[in-house]
Symmetry: C2
Subunit: 314 residues, 2 copies
Amino acid sequence: MYYLGIDLGGTNIAVGLVNEELALVCKDSLPTPATDPVAIADTMAVLCRRLLKKEGLSFDDVAYAGIACPGIVNRASGEVIYANNINFDHFPLAHLLCERMPLKAVYLENDANAAALGEAKAGGARGTKNSVMITLGTGVGGGIIIDGKVYMGFNCAGGELGHMVIQKDGRPCTCGRRGCFEAYSSATGLVRMTQEKMEARPDSLMHELVRRHGKVSGRTAFDAERAGDEAGAEVVAEYVSYLACGISNLINIFQPEALVIGGGVCNEKENLLNRLYPIVRREAYGGGRVPATELRIAELGNDAGIIGAACLGL
Amino acid sequence: MYYLGIDLGGTNIAVGLVNEELALVCKDSLPTPATDPVAIADTMAVLCRRLLKKEGLSFDDVAYAGIACPGIVNRASGEVIYANNINFDHFPLAHLLCERMPLKAVYLENDANAAALGEAKAGGARGTKNSVMITLGTGVGGGIIIDGKVYMGFNCAGGELGHMVIQKDGRPCTCGRRGCFEAYSSATGLVRMTQEKMEARPDSLMHELVRRHGKVSGRTAFDAERAGDEAGAEVVAEYVSYLACGISNLINIFQPEALVIGGGVCNEKENLLNRLYPIVRREAYGGGRVPATELRIAELGNDAGIIGAACLGL
Protein backbone atom coordinates (compact mmCIF):
# COMPACT_ATOMS: atom_id res chain seq x y z
CA MET A 1 0.00 0.00 0.00
CA TYR A 2 1.09 3.59 -0.68
CA TYR A 3 0.29 7.02 0.74
CA LEU A 4 0.03 10.24 -1.24
CA GLY A 5 1.60 13.24 0.50
CA ILE A 6 0.77 16.71 -0.81
CA ASP A 7 2.70 19.80 0.29
CA LEU A 8 0.94 23.02 -0.64
CA GLY A 9 3.42 25.87 -0.64
CA GLY A 10 3.04 29.50 -1.60
CA THR A 11 5.19 28.92 -4.71
CA ASN A 12 4.82 25.23 -5.58
CA ILE A 13 2.55 22.28 -4.97
CA ALA A 14 4.67 19.17 -4.38
CA VAL A 15 3.21 15.67 -4.35
CA GLY A 16 5.02 12.51 -3.30
CA LEU A 17 4.25 8.81 -3.22
CA VAL A 18 5.36 7.24 0.06
CA ASN A 19 5.57 3.50 0.72
CA GLU A 20 4.84 1.53 3.88
CA GLU A 21 8.43 1.98 5.04
CA LEU A 22 7.69 5.72 4.87
CA ALA A 23 10.28 6.17 2.11
CA LEU A 24 9.59 8.72 -0.62
CA VAL A 25 9.28 6.64 -3.81
CA CYS A 26 8.89 9.56 -6.21
CA LYS A 27 7.72 13.15 -6.25
CA ASP A 28 6.66 15.87 -8.66
CA SER A 29 5.61 19.50 -8.45
CA LEU A 30 3.85 22.33 -10.28
CA PRO A 31 3.53 26.06 -9.55
CA THR A 32 0.78 27.01 -7.09
CA PRO A 33 -2.12 28.86 -8.75
CA ALA A 34 -2.26 30.96 -5.61
CA THR A 35 -5.19 33.18 -6.41
CA ASP A 36 -7.61 30.34 -7.24
CA PRO A 37 -8.33 27.69 -4.60
CA VAL A 38 -10.26 25.49 -7.04
CA ALA A 39 -7.30 25.46 -9.43
CA ILE A 40 -5.16 24.38 -6.49
CA ALA A 41 -7.32 21.26 -6.04
CA ASP A 42 -7.16 20.63 -9.81
CA THR A 43 -3.38 20.89 -9.81
CA MET A 44 -3.09 18.50 -6.85
CA ALA A 45 -5.21 15.94 -8.72
CA VAL A 46 -3.08 16.28 -11.87
CA LEU A 47 0.09 15.64 -9.86
CA CYS A 48 -1.38 12.64 -8.01
CA ARG A 49 -2.51 10.96 -11.25
CA ARG A 50 0.83 11.67 -12.90
CA LEU A 51 2.79 10.00 -10.08
CA LEU A 52 0.58 6.92 -9.97
CA LYS A 53 0.84 6.54 -13.74
CA LYS A 54 4.61 6.89 -13.60
CA GLU A 55 4.86 4.09 -11.03
CA GLY A 56 2.28 1.88 -12.77
CA LEU A 57 -0.07 2.12 -9.78
CA SER A 58 -3.80 2.78 -9.43
CA PHE A 59 -5.87 4.44 -6.71
CA ASP A 60 -6.53 0.93 -5.35
CA ASP A 61 -2.88 0.92 -4.27
CA VAL A 62 -3.31 4.18 -2.29
CA ALA A 63 -4.56 4.06 1.31
CA TYR A 64 -5.23 7.81 1.48
CA ALA A 65 -3.90 11.25 0.61
CA GLY A 66 -2.68 13.80 3.15
CA ILE A 67 -2.32 17.52 2.54
CA ALA A 68 0.08 19.84 4.35
CA CYS A 69 -1.18 23.38 4.01
CA PRO A 70 -0.13 26.77 5.39
CA GLY A 71 -2.41 28.59 7.81
CA ILE A 72 -5.16 27.33 10.09
CA VAL A 73 -6.93 24.16 8.99
CA ASN A 74 -9.90 22.35 10.45
CA ARG A 75 -8.81 18.75 10.59
CA ALA A 76 -12.33 17.42 11.20
CA SER A 77 -14.10 19.26 8.37
CA GLY A 78 -11.16 19.20 5.93
CA GLU A 79 -11.40 22.96 5.49
CA VAL A 80 -8.66 25.53 5.24
CA ILE A 81 -9.94 28.19 7.67
CA TYR A 82 -7.38 30.80 6.76
CA ALA A 83 -4.02 31.04 5.04
CA ASN A 84 -1.97 34.19 4.90
CA ASN A 85 -0.28 33.66 1.52
CA ILE A 86 -3.05 31.90 -0.35
CA ASN A 87 -6.58 33.05 -0.95
CA PHE A 88 -8.35 30.62 1.40
CA ASP A 89 -11.33 31.39 3.60
CA HIS A 90 -13.10 28.32 5.00
CA PHE A 91 -12.26 26.45 1.81
CA PRO A 92 -13.26 22.73 1.70
CA LEU A 93 -9.97 21.51 0.23
CA ALA A 94 -10.21 17.87 1.38
CA HIS A 95 -13.72 17.58 -0.05
CA LEU A 96 -12.66 19.03 -3.43
CA LEU A 97 -9.79 16.59 -3.64
CA CYS A 98 -12.15 13.68 -2.92
CA GLU A 99 -14.40 14.85 -5.77
CA ARG A 100 -11.50 14.78 -8.21
CA MET A 101 -10.03 11.36 -7.38
CA PRO A 102 -11.31 8.00 -6.07
CA LEU A 103 -9.49 8.37 -2.74
CA LYS A 104 -10.47 6.33 0.33
CA ALA A 105 -9.70 9.28 2.62
CA VAL A 106 -8.12 12.74 2.56
CA TYR A 107 -6.47 14.28 5.63
CA LEU A 108 -5.57 17.91 6.07
CA GLU A 109 -2.99 19.42 8.42
CA ASN A 110 -1.08 22.64 8.93
CA ASP A 111 2.29 22.42 7.13
CA ALA A 112 4.51 22.99 10.17
CA ASN A 113 2.54 20.35 12.07
CA ALA A 114 2.84 17.92 9.14
CA ALA A 115 6.60 18.50 8.94
CA ALA A 116 6.86 17.75 12.67
CA LEU A 117 4.92 14.52 12.12
CA GLY A 118 7.15 13.58 9.19
CA GLU A 119 10.30 14.10 11.25
CA ALA A 120 8.71 12.16 14.15
CA LYS A 121 7.79 9.16 11.98
CA ALA A 122 10.60 9.05 9.45
CA GLY A 123 13.18 11.73 10.24
CA GLY A 124 15.17 13.29 13.08
CA ALA A 125 12.76 12.24 15.84
CA ARG A 126 12.16 8.72 14.48
CA GLY A 127 11.47 6.28 17.30
CA THR A 128 10.11 8.86 19.74
CA LYS A 129 6.51 9.29 20.87
CA ASN A 130 6.73 12.89 22.08
CA SER A 131 8.70 15.44 20.07
CA VAL A 132 8.69 19.11 19.21
CA MET A 133 9.91 20.55 15.94
CA ILE A 134 10.89 24.11 15.12
CA THR A 135 11.66 25.20 11.55
CA LEU A 136 13.90 28.24 11.27
CA GLY A 137 12.87 29.83 7.99
CA THR A 138 11.24 33.11 7.04
CA GLY A 139 9.43 32.64 10.34
CA VAL A 140 9.73 29.99 13.03
CA GLY A 141 7.30 27.17 12.36
CA GLY A 142 6.33 24.85 15.17
CA GLY A 143 4.85 21.41 15.55
CA ILE A 144 4.06 19.36 18.64
CA ILE A 145 3.80 15.56 18.54
CA ILE A 146 2.25 13.89 21.58
CA ASP A 147 1.75 10.12 21.69
CA GLY A 148 2.68 9.97 18.00
CA LYS A 149 -0.03 12.42 16.93
CA VAL A 150 -0.07 16.11 16.05
CA TYR A 151 -1.28 18.30 18.92
CA MET A 152 -3.18 21.30 17.57
CA GLY A 153 -5.39 22.59 20.37
CA PHE A 154 -9.16 22.72 20.52
CA ASN A 155 -9.47 25.24 17.68
CA CYS A 156 -6.77 23.74 15.39
CA ALA A 157 -4.58 26.83 15.82
CA GLY A 158 -2.09 25.55 18.42
CA GLY A 159 1.61 24.90 18.02
CA GLU A 160 2.51 28.48 17.09
CA LEU A 161 5.82 28.08 18.87
CA GLY A 162 7.37 31.00 16.98
CA HIS A 163 4.88 33.37 18.56
CA MET A 164 6.03 32.81 22.11
CA VAL A 165 7.47 36.09 23.42
CA ILE A 166 10.98 35.65 24.83
CA GLN A 167 11.80 39.36 25.07
CA LYS A 168 8.81 41.31 26.35
CA ASP A 169 8.43 44.62 24.47
CA GLY A 170 11.25 43.54 22.16
CA ARG A 171 11.47 43.45 18.36
CA PRO A 172 8.19 43.78 16.47
CA CYS A 173 6.94 40.48 15.03
CA THR A 174 4.78 40.02 11.92
CA CYS A 175 2.03 38.64 14.21
CA GLY A 176 1.58 41.96 15.97
CA ARG A 177 3.29 41.01 19.24
CA ARG A 178 6.73 42.25 20.24
CA GLY A 179 9.70 40.06 21.14
CA CYS A 180 8.51 36.76 19.67
CA PHE A 181 10.92 33.81 19.38
CA GLU A 182 10.42 34.13 15.61
CA ALA A 183 11.59 37.76 15.55
CA TYR A 184 15.03 36.62 16.75
CA SER A 185 15.49 32.99 15.78
CA SER A 186 14.11 32.83 12.25
CA ALA A 187 16.50 33.01 9.30
CA THR A 188 15.03 36.48 8.80
CA GLY A 189 16.03 37.39 12.35
CA LEU A 190 19.55 36.09 11.78
CA VAL A 191 19.90 38.10 8.55
CA ARG A 192 18.75 41.24 10.35
CA MET A 193 21.21 40.68 13.21
CA THR A 194 23.92 40.20 10.59
CA GLN A 195 22.99 43.40 8.75
CA GLU A 196 22.95 45.43 11.95
CA LYS A 197 26.36 44.16 12.99
CA MET A 198 27.75 44.92 9.51
CA GLU A 199 26.54 48.50 9.78
CA ALA A 200 28.25 48.83 13.13
CA ARG A 201 31.44 47.10 11.97
CA PRO A 202 32.60 48.28 8.53
CA ASP A 203 35.85 46.37 9.14
CA SER A 204 34.11 43.00 9.35
CA LEU A 205 34.91 40.24 6.86
CA MET A 206 31.16 39.86 6.45
CA HIS A 207 31.19 42.79 3.97
CA GLU A 208 33.60 40.87 1.74
CA LEU A 209 31.53 37.66 1.99
CA VAL A 210 28.37 39.53 1.04
CA ARG A 211 30.10 41.10 -1.99
CA ARG A 212 31.20 37.61 -3.04
CA HIS A 213 27.78 35.93 -2.59
CA GLY A 214 25.61 38.83 -3.64
CA LYS A 215 23.54 39.10 -0.46
CA VAL A 216 23.39 38.73 3.29
CA SER A 217 22.18 35.26 4.20
CA GLY A 218 21.86 33.01 7.23
CA ARG A 219 25.33 31.69 6.36
CA THR A 220 27.16 35.02 6.32
CA ALA A 221 27.90 35.28 10.05
CA PHE A 222 28.71 31.57 10.43
CA ASP A 223 31.11 31.67 7.47
CA ALA A 224 32.74 34.85 8.76
CA GLU A 225 33.24 33.31 12.19
CA ARG A 226 34.88 30.25 10.63
CA ALA A 227 37.30 32.61 8.87
CA GLY A 228 38.18 34.20 12.22
CA ASP A 229 36.00 37.32 12.01
CA GLU A 230 35.16 38.71 15.43
CA ALA A 231 32.00 40.55 14.38
CA GLY A 232 30.71 37.37 12.73
CA ALA A 233 31.37 35.44 15.94
CA GLU A 234 29.41 38.05 17.88
CA VAL A 235 26.40 37.66 15.57
CA VAL A 236 26.51 33.87 15.90
CA ALA A 237 26.75 34.08 19.70
CA GLU A 238 23.82 36.49 19.89
CA TYR A 239 21.69 34.41 17.50
CA VAL A 240 22.44 31.18 19.36
CA SER A 241 21.61 32.76 22.73
CA TYR A 242 18.10 33.67 21.54
CA LEU A 243 17.60 30.30 19.86
CA ALA A 244 18.73 28.48 23.02
CA CYS A 245 16.39 30.63 25.12
CA GLY A 246 13.35 29.61 23.07
CA ILE A 247 14.44 25.97 22.90
CA SER A 248 14.95 25.87 26.69
CA ASN A 249 11.44 27.28 27.13
CA LEU A 250 10.01 24.53 24.95
CA ILE A 251 11.93 21.88 26.87
CA ASN A 252 10.72 23.20 30.23
CA ILE A 253 7.17 23.11 28.92
CA PHE A 254 7.18 19.81 27.03
CA GLN A 255 10.22 17.79 28.08
CA PRO A 256 9.98 15.97 24.75
CA GLU A 257 12.22 13.03 23.96
CA ALA A 258 13.57 14.97 21.00
CA LEU A 259 13.48 18.56 19.83
CA VAL A 260 14.04 18.68 16.09
CA ILE A 261 15.48 21.78 14.44
CA GLY A 262 14.80 22.33 10.75
CA GLY A 263 15.36 25.06 8.19
CA GLY A 264 18.39 26.46 6.40
CA VAL A 265 20.32 27.38 9.56
CA CYS A 266 20.52 23.63 10.26
CA ASN A 267 23.08 23.25 7.53
CA GLU A 268 25.44 24.19 10.37
CA LYS A 269 24.56 20.78 11.88
CA GLU A 270 26.97 19.82 14.70
CA ASN A 271 28.35 23.36 14.85
CA LEU A 272 24.87 24.57 15.79
CA LEU A 273 24.10 21.70 18.21
CA ASN A 274 27.46 22.01 19.97
CA ARG A 275 26.73 25.66 20.66
CA LEU A 276 23.16 25.06 21.78
CA TYR A 277 23.73 22.12 24.11
CA PRO A 278 25.74 23.87 26.87
CA ILE A 279 23.15 26.66 27.18
CA VAL A 280 20.13 24.39 26.94
CA ARG A 281 21.53 21.86 29.44
CA ARG A 282 22.10 24.70 31.92
CA GLU A 283 18.67 26.28 31.41
CA ALA A 284 16.44 23.22 31.20
CA TYR A 285 14.60 22.38 34.40
CA GLY A 286 15.55 19.33 36.45
CA GLY A 287 19.03 19.33 34.90
CA GLY A 288 20.96 16.17 35.69
CA ARG A 289 18.14 14.60 37.72
CA VAL A 290 16.08 13.39 34.77
CA PRO A 291 16.94 12.16 31.26
CA ALA A 292 17.46 15.19 29.01
CA THR A 293 15.75 16.09 25.74
CA GLU A 294 17.92 15.34 22.72
CA LEU A 295 18.41 18.10 20.18
CA ARG A 296 18.30 16.70 16.65
CA ILE A 297 18.81 18.17 13.21
CA ALA A 298 15.86 17.61 10.84
CA GLU A 299 16.58 14.91 8.26
CA LEU A 300 13.82 15.23 5.69
CA GLY A 301 14.66 18.73 4.41
CA ASN A 302 12.11 20.03 1.92
CA ASP A 303 10.39 16.64 1.85
CA ALA A 304 9.23 16.88 5.48
CA GLY A 305 5.87 18.33 4.42
CA ILE A 306 5.24 15.63 1.78
CA ILE A 307 6.28 12.78 4.06
CA GLY A 308 4.43 14.25 7.05
CA ALA A 309 1.28 14.64 4.96
CA ALA A 310 1.66 11.02 3.86
CA CYS A 311 1.79 10.01 7.56
CA LEU A 312 -1.45 11.79 8.52
CA GLY A 313 -3.63 8.69 8.32
CA LEU A 314 -1.26 6.27 10.02
CA MET B 1 -17.04 4.02 45.47
CA TYR B 2 -14.67 6.65 46.91
CA TYR B 3 -11.22 7.99 46.05
CA LEU B 4 -8.57 9.06 48.57
CA GLY B 5 -6.71 12.22 47.54
CA ILE B 6 -3.49 13.06 49.38
CA ASP B 7 -1.82 16.45 49.05
CA LEU B 8 1.73 16.46 50.36
CA GLY B 9 2.80 20.01 51.12
CA GLY B 10 5.95 21.38 52.68
CA THR B 11 4.01 22.32 55.83
CA ASN B 12 1.03 19.95 55.99
CA ILE B 13 -0.18 16.66 54.61
CA ALA B 14 -3.87 16.95 53.69
CA VAL B 15 -6.03 13.94 52.87
CA GLY B 16 -9.54 14.03 51.48
CA LEU B 17 -12.22 11.51 50.65
CA VAL B 18 -13.80 12.23 47.28
CA ASN B 19 -16.99 10.62 45.97
CA GLU B 20 -17.95 9.56 42.45
CA GLU B 21 -19.38 13.03 41.76
CA LEU B 22 -15.85 14.29 42.54
CA ALA B 23 -17.11 16.19 45.57
CA LEU B 24 -14.90 16.41 48.64
CA VAL B 25 -16.78 14.51 51.36
CA CYS B 26 -14.37 15.25 54.20
CA LYS B 27 -10.72 16.09 54.77
CA ASP B 28 -8.12 16.16 57.50
CA SER B 29 -4.49 17.17 57.83
CA LEU B 30 -1.35 16.82 59.96
CA PRO B 31 2.02 18.58 59.90
CA THR B 32 4.53 17.21 57.37
CA PRO B 33 7.47 15.42 59.04
CA ALA B 34 9.61 16.94 56.32
CA THR B 35 12.98 15.46 57.21
CA ASP B 36 11.78 11.84 57.27
CA PRO B 37 10.20 10.36 54.14
CA VAL B 38 9.13 7.17 55.93
CA ALA B 39 7.30 9.20 58.56
CA ILE B 40 5.53 10.98 55.70
CA ALA B 41 4.12 7.66 54.49
CA ASP B 42 3.13 6.77 58.08
CA THR B 43 1.32 10.10 58.50
CA MET B 44 -0.54 9.63 55.22
CA ALA B 45 -1.75 6.21 56.37
CA VAL B 46 -2.91 7.62 59.73
CA LEU B 47 -4.93 10.31 57.96
CA CYS B 48 -6.48 7.88 55.46
CA ARG B 49 -7.61 5.49 58.20
CA ARG B 50 -8.95 8.35 60.30
CA LEU B 51 -11.12 9.65 57.42
CA LEU B 52 -12.52 6.24 56.55
CA LYS B 53 -13.36 5.58 60.21
CA LYS B 54 -15.07 8.96 60.52
CA GLU B 55 -17.29 8.18 57.51
CA GLY B 56 -17.94 4.59 58.53
CA LEU B 57 -16.20 3.26 55.41
CA SER B 58 -13.61 0.53 54.82
CA PHE B 59 -10.82 0.15 52.24
CA ASP B 60 -13.31 -1.96 50.22
CA ASP B 61 -15.15 1.30 49.53
CA VAL B 62 -11.99 2.95 48.15
CA ALA B 63 -11.06 2.50 44.47
CA TYR B 64 -7.53 3.89 44.91
CA ALA B 65 -5.44 6.60 46.52
CA GLY B 66 -3.71 9.40 44.63
CA ILE B 67 -0.83 11.49 45.93
CA ALA B 68 0.01 15.02 44.81
CA CYS B 69 3.61 15.70 45.66
CA PRO B 70 6.04 18.58 45.03
CA GLY B 71 9.03 18.04 42.76
CA ILE B 72 9.65 15.50 40.04
CA VAL B 73 7.83 12.19 40.34
CA ASN B 74 8.04 9.03 38.28
CA ARG B 75 4.45 8.12 37.60
CA ALA B 76 5.29 4.61 36.41
CA SER B 77 7.49 3.56 39.32
CA GLY B 78 5.63 5.55 41.99
CA GLU B 79 8.88 7.17 43.09
CA VAL B 80 9.54 10.76 44.07
CA ILE B 81 12.70 11.49 42.07
CA TYR B 82 13.42 14.81 43.68
CA ALA B 83 11.65 17.44 45.76
CA ASN B 84 13.20 20.73 46.69
CA ASN B 85 11.52 21.27 50.06
CA ILE B 86 11.34 17.69 51.29
CA ASN B 87 14.12 15.22 51.72
CA PHE B 88 13.26 12.91 48.79
CA ASP B 89 15.72 11.22 46.48
CA HIS B 90 14.25 8.41 44.38
CA PHE B 91 11.90 7.60 47.22
CA PRO B 92 9.30 4.82 46.57
CA LEU B 93 6.37 6.69 48.13
CA ALA B 94 3.56 4.83 46.32
CA HIS B 95 5.05 1.49 47.33
CA LEU B 96 5.37 2.51 50.98
CA LEU B 97 1.76 3.63 51.05
CA CYS B 98 0.65 0.28 49.58
CA GLU B 99 2.55 -1.51 52.34
CA ARG B 100 0.69 0.43 55.03
CA MET B 101 -2.89 0.08 53.73
CA PRO B 102 -4.89 -2.50 51.70
CA LEU B 103 -5.21 -0.17 48.68
CA LYS B 104 -6.09 -1.49 45.23
CA ALA B 105 -3.80 1.09 43.60
CA VAL B 106 -1.75 4.18 44.44
CA TYR B 107 -1.04 6.91 41.87
CA LEU B 108 1.58 9.62 42.19
CA GLU B 109 1.70 12.98 40.44
CA ASN B 110 3.43 16.33 40.73
CA ASP B 111 1.27 18.70 42.80
CA ALA B 112 0.87 21.41 40.15
CA ASN B 113 -0.12 18.75 37.61
CA ALA B 114 -2.60 17.23 40.05
CA ALA B 115 -4.14 20.65 40.74
CA ALA B 116 -4.55 21.16 36.97
CA LEU B 117 -6.27 17.78 36.74
CA GLY B 118 -8.55 18.62 39.66
CA GLU B 119 -9.58 21.92 38.05
CA ALA B 120 -10.08 20.12 34.71
CA LYS B 121 -12.31 17.42 36.19
CA ALA B 122 -14.16 19.25 38.94
CA GLY B 123 -13.21 22.95 38.91
CA GLY B 124 -12.68 25.92 36.62
CA ALA B 125 -12.01 23.86 33.48
CA ARG B 126 -14.77 21.32 34.14
CA GLY B 127 -16.18 20.01 30.86
CA THR B 128 -13.03 20.63 28.79
CA LYS B 129 -10.65 18.03 27.38
CA ASN B 130 -7.61 20.27 26.89
CA SER B 131 -6.73 22.85 29.50
CA VAL B 132 -3.73 24.57 31.01
CA MET B 133 -3.50 25.75 34.61
CA ILE B 134 -1.13 28.24 36.16
CA THR B 135 -0.98 28.80 39.92
CA LEU B 136 0.36 32.18 40.98
CA GLY B 137 1.90 31.54 44.38
CA THR B 138 5.43 31.66 45.73
CA GLY B 139 6.34 30.51 42.24
CA VAL B 140 4.23 29.90 39.14
CA GLY B 141 3.10 26.29 39.04
CA GLY B 142 1.95 24.81 35.78
CA GLY B 143 -0.11 21.87 34.62
CA ILE B 144 -1.10 20.71 31.16
CA ILE B 145 -4.17 18.54 30.54
CA ILE B 146 -4.44 16.93 27.11
CA ASP B 147 -7.31 14.60 26.27
CA GLY B 148 -8.31 14.63 29.92
CA LYS B 149 -4.92 13.43 31.14
CA VAL B 150 -1.88 15.11 32.67
CA TYR B 151 0.90 15.75 30.13
CA MET B 152 4.28 15.45 31.82
CA GLY B 153 6.82 14.76 29.09
CA PHE B 154 8.97 11.69 28.57
CA ASN B 155 10.95 12.20 31.78
CA CYS B 156 8.02 13.27 34.02
CA ALA B 157 9.49 16.78 34.38
CA GLY B 158 7.35 18.69 31.87
CA GLY B 159 4.79 21.39 32.51
CA GLU B 160 7.23 23.80 34.18
CA LEU B 161 5.31 26.71 32.69
CA GLY B 162 6.72 29.15 35.24
CA HIS B 163 10.21 28.55 33.87
CA MET B 164 9.48 29.91 30.41
CA VAL B 165 11.60 33.01 29.86
CA ILE B 166 9.50 36.01 28.78
CA GLN B 167 12.20 38.64 29.30
CA LYS B 168 15.55 37.35 28.11
CA ASP B 169 18.36 38.40 30.50
CA GLY B 170 15.69 39.79 32.84
CA ARG B 171 15.13 39.23 36.56
CA PRO B 172 16.97 36.29 38.14
CA CYS B 173 14.73 33.29 38.83
CA THR B 174 15.16 30.69 41.55
CA CYS B 175 15.71 28.09 38.80
CA GLY B 176 18.94 29.74 37.63
CA ARG B 177 17.54 31.28 34.44
CA ARG B 178 16.85 34.97 34.02
CA GLY B 179 13.52 36.52 33.06
CA CYS B 180 11.22 33.55 33.78
CA PHE B 181 7.44 34.01 33.76
CA GLU B 182 7.60 33.05 37.45
CA ALA B 183 10.01 35.88 38.29
CA TYR B 184 7.34 38.41 37.26
CA SER B 185 3.94 36.76 37.60
CA SER B 186 4.18 34.88 40.89
CA ALA B 187 2.77 36.44 44.05
CA THR B 188 6.41 36.89 45.01
CA GLY B 189 6.99 38.84 41.80
CA LEU B 190 3.98 41.03 42.49
CA VAL B 191 5.15 41.74 46.06
CA ARG B 192 8.58 42.71 44.75
CA MET B 193 7.09 45.02 42.09
CA THR B 194 4.97 46.59 44.86
CA GLN B 195 7.97 47.09 47.15
CA GLU B 196 10.02 48.68 44.39
CA LYS B 197 7.23 51.09 43.50
CA MET B 198 6.78 51.99 47.18
CA GLU B 199 10.46 52.86 47.45
CA ALA B 200 10.16 55.09 44.40
CA ARG B 201 6.90 56.65 45.57
CA PRO B 202 6.90 57.58 49.26
CA ASP B 203 3.63 59.46 48.65
CA SER B 204 1.73 56.31 47.63
CA LEU B 205 -1.25 55.13 49.65
CA MET B 206 0.41 51.71 49.60
CA HIS B 207 2.60 52.77 52.57
CA GLU B 208 -0.51 53.41 54.65
CA LEU B 209 -2.06 50.07 53.58
CA VAL B 210 1.09 48.20 54.53
CA ARG B 211 1.19 49.89 57.94
CA ARG B 212 -2.42 48.85 58.47
CA HIS B 213 -1.98 45.20 57.37
CA GLY B 214 1.51 44.67 58.71
CA LYS B 215 3.15 43.65 55.43
CA VAL B 216 3.29 44.02 51.68
CA SER B 217 1.10 41.39 50.03
CA GLY B 218 -0.30 40.53 46.61
CA ARG B 219 -3.35 42.61 47.58
CA THR B 220 -1.53 45.85 48.42
CA ALA B 221 -1.34 47.29 44.90
CA PHE B 222 -4.85 46.14 43.92
CA ASP B 223 -6.35 47.66 47.10
CA ALA B 224 -4.43 50.89 46.58
CA GLU B 225 -5.63 51.15 43.00
CA ARG B 226 -9.23 50.67 44.13
CA ALA B 227 -8.72 53.58 46.55
CA GLY B 228 -7.54 55.79 43.66
CA ASP B 229 -3.77 55.50 44.21
CA GLU B 230 -1.80 56.13 41.01
CA ALA B 231 1.33 54.22 42.05
CA GLY B 232 -0.83 51.22 42.96
CA ALA B 233 -2.46 51.37 39.53
CA GLU B 234 0.98 51.41 37.90
CA VAL B 235 2.00 48.27 39.78
CA VAL B 236 -1.20 46.49 38.78
CA ALA B 237 -0.76 47.49 35.12
CA GLU B 238 2.85 46.30 35.08
CA TYR B 239 2.00 43.02 36.81
CA VAL B 240 -0.92 42.33 34.48
CA SER B 241 1.18 43.06 31.39
CA TYR B 242 3.70 40.35 32.35
CA LEU B 243 0.97 37.91 33.33
CA ALA B 244 -0.84 38.51 30.03
CA CYS B 245 2.41 38.02 28.12
CA GLY B 246 2.98 34.58 29.62
CA ILE B 247 -0.66 33.59 29.24
CA SER B 248 -0.64 34.66 25.57
CA ASN B 249 2.46 32.52 25.04
CA LEU B 250 0.69 29.51 26.53
CA ILE B 251 -2.36 30.11 24.35
CA ASN B 252 -0.26 30.38 21.19
CA ILE B 253 1.43 27.10 22.09
CA PHE B 254 -1.55 25.08 23.36
CA GLN B 255 -4.76 26.81 22.27
CA PRO B 256 -6.49 25.06 25.16
CA GLU B 257 -10.24 25.30 25.62
CA ALA B 258 -9.63 26.87 29.01
CA LEU B 259 -6.69 28.42 30.80
CA VAL B 260 -7.26 28.28 34.54
CA ILE B 261 -5.59 30.78 36.87
CA GLY B 262 -5.16 29.82 40.50
CA GLY B 263 -3.41 31.22 43.57
CA GLY B 264 -4.02 34.15 45.87
CA VAL B 265 -3.98 36.81 43.14
CA CYS B 266 -7.15 35.18 41.80
CA ASN B 267 -9.13 36.63 44.67
CA GLU B 268 -9.31 39.62 42.30
CA LYS B 269 -11.54 37.41 40.12
CA GLU B 270 -13.35 39.47 37.42
CA ASN B 271 -11.11 42.45 38.06
CA LEU B 272 -8.15 40.32 37.01
CA LEU B 273 -9.89 38.65 34.05
CA ASN B 274 -11.24 41.94 32.72
CA ARG B 275 -7.70 43.33 32.62
CA LEU B 276 -6.19 40.23 31.07
CA TYR B 277 -8.74 39.64 28.31
CA PRO B 278 -8.07 42.73 26.14
CA ILE B 279 -4.31 42.04 26.07
CA VAL B 280 -4.62 38.30 25.58
CA ARG B 281 -7.24 38.64 22.84
CA ARG B 282 -4.92 41.01 20.96
CA GLU B 283 -1.81 38.87 21.40
CA ALA B 284 -3.23 35.38 20.84
CA TYR B 285 -2.61 33.98 17.36
CA GLY B 286 -5.48 33.58 14.90
CA GLY B 287 -7.49 36.24 16.75
CA GLY B 288 -11.10 36.37 15.59
CA ARG B 289 -10.70 33.56 13.04
CA VAL B 290 -10.92 30.68 15.49
CA PRO B 291 -12.75 30.14 18.80
CA ALA B 292 -10.72 31.71 21.60
CA THR B 293 -9.38 30.15 24.79
CA GLU B 294 -11.46 31.03 27.83
CA LEU B 295 -9.67 32.39 30.88
CA ARG B 296 -11.15 30.95 34.05
CA ILE B 297 -10.53 31.49 37.74
CA ALA B 298 -9.66 28.32 39.65
CA GLU B 299 -12.56 27.05 41.76
CA LEU B 300 -11.08 24.44 44.05
CA GLY B 301 -8.73 26.69 46.04
CA ASN B 302 -6.50 24.79 48.45
CA ASP B 303 -8.44 21.58 47.74
CA ALA B 304 -7.24 21.39 44.11
CA GLY B 305 -4.34 19.12 45.05
CA ILE B 306 -6.52 16.74 47.09
CA ILE B 307 -9.25 16.56 44.45
CA GLY B 308 -6.74 16.31 41.60
CA ALA B 309 -4.94 13.48 43.39
CA ALA B 310 -8.28 11.75 43.86
CA CYS B 311 -8.84 12.01 40.07
CA LEU B 312 -5.51 10.37 39.11
CA GLY B 313 -6.97 6.94 38.54
CA LEU B 314 -10.11 7.99 36.66
